[in-house]
Subunit: 207 residues, 2 copies
């Protein structure tokens, strides 16, 4: 199998050493193999050893790249994107509105690059309890990030209860919207759905 360098992201970046390139490649190989096997025989039905074999690396290496099996599925690097997007918004905007814009940007980013993976991943998260649990962890991280950013904008402490409550509520709501989306067969316009979700929050959770 030839490398085939599918990344296609205008490789104008600083030339990475061979080591770095191989690392990225291996990482991708493992994830690809895993997703394929998960699709075919389910998450729980796929032992790490088998993933390792399919990706042509040793089990040790799999664990080196992904500390837990869940991490193979749950790896998004969109937090920084969203963070940047929010920072770019005017400081007098309401938290909900700022986050709305941040999510819009991150969403467009995802849709362009790997919407297929988003579907697959969300489906897995929905079905496998341990993944759902792990993702909640990730949301905790995102929440802390949002708190920090919003704290700067509003001049509050990043540990302010109300601030933390706001971010947690928003993330909880959006997660639920995502789940709804996959349950419905991912037909709806995701951005519109998220907007509706944020509207509900905006108007004080009235029905």
């Amino acid at each position: 199998m030839a490398p085939a360098n599918t990344s296609s992201a205008a490789t104008s970046e600083p030339r990475l050493g061979l080591r770095e390139r191989k690392k990225i490649q291996t990482r991708q190989a493992i994830r690809r193999a895993a997703y394929l096997l998960f699709e075919r025989q389910g998450y729980d039905g796929t032992p790490i050893d088998q993933i390792a074999e399919a990706a042509d690396v040793s089990p040790s290496t799999v664990f080196r790249y992904f500390p837990t099996k869940e991490d193979i599925v749950l790896t998004d690097e969109y937090d920084p994107v969203m963070e940047a997007a929010i920072r770019a918004r005017p400081a007098d905007e309401s938290p909900v509105e700022a986050i709305r814009q941040g999510v819009h940007v991150a969403m467009r980013h995802i849709m362009e690059n790997d919407i297929v993976e988003l579907r697959q991943r969300t489906r897995l998260v929905r079905e496998v309890p341990s993944l759902r649990g792990r993702q909640a962890e990730g949301m905790g991280q995102s929440a802390r990030m949002l708190c920090t950013v919003l704290a700067e904008r509003s001049g509050r402490d990043a540990n302010d209860v109300e601030l933390r409550v706001v971010t947690s509520a928003i993330l909880g709501a959006m997660h639920e919207a995502l789940m709804y989306w996959v349950e419905q067969g991912q037909q709806e316009d995701l951005i519109a759905l998220i907007d509706r979700t944020l509207d509900v929050l905006d108007r004080g959770l009235t029905l």
Copy 2:
């Protein structure tokens, strides 16, 4: 051991058989032993075998009572209490308000019975990632329950997106409040804190 309970002794509750009583007893023994060991040597530092030994049962039995180690920590039976409380509220009350009242009732219930355990448990949940993840699962259950109840009141479908968003946001927010509470040393009045949290939601997540 002689039966001794047969007729004369007014055994308070609907007379449980010896079997049932022993089961409850065993369950409690395991949990007590576990909490004690967790306190002393941490959650991850305490293998099931040790818990079994301390509770004077076999490891098999531990797994029979608690399908996972996490379940030893996370077992609350307050959902039904809250459900009943919400059902008792007038149907024209807003979701947030109804849940507020439901939480009040459940909280009082907890405070009277096992506030010590609440502290210990919440502390554990805060510290141990796997527990946090598992608890998120539990919140999912609670969310579905709330959806069902609120659906009846509002005449909506229990699967309505907005309904689901509302419950998820509320639960996410309350969870965060609880975390804040333990972080601050559990000094504040928990009920007041939760009220503040719900107020934030009520006014549309403005700061």
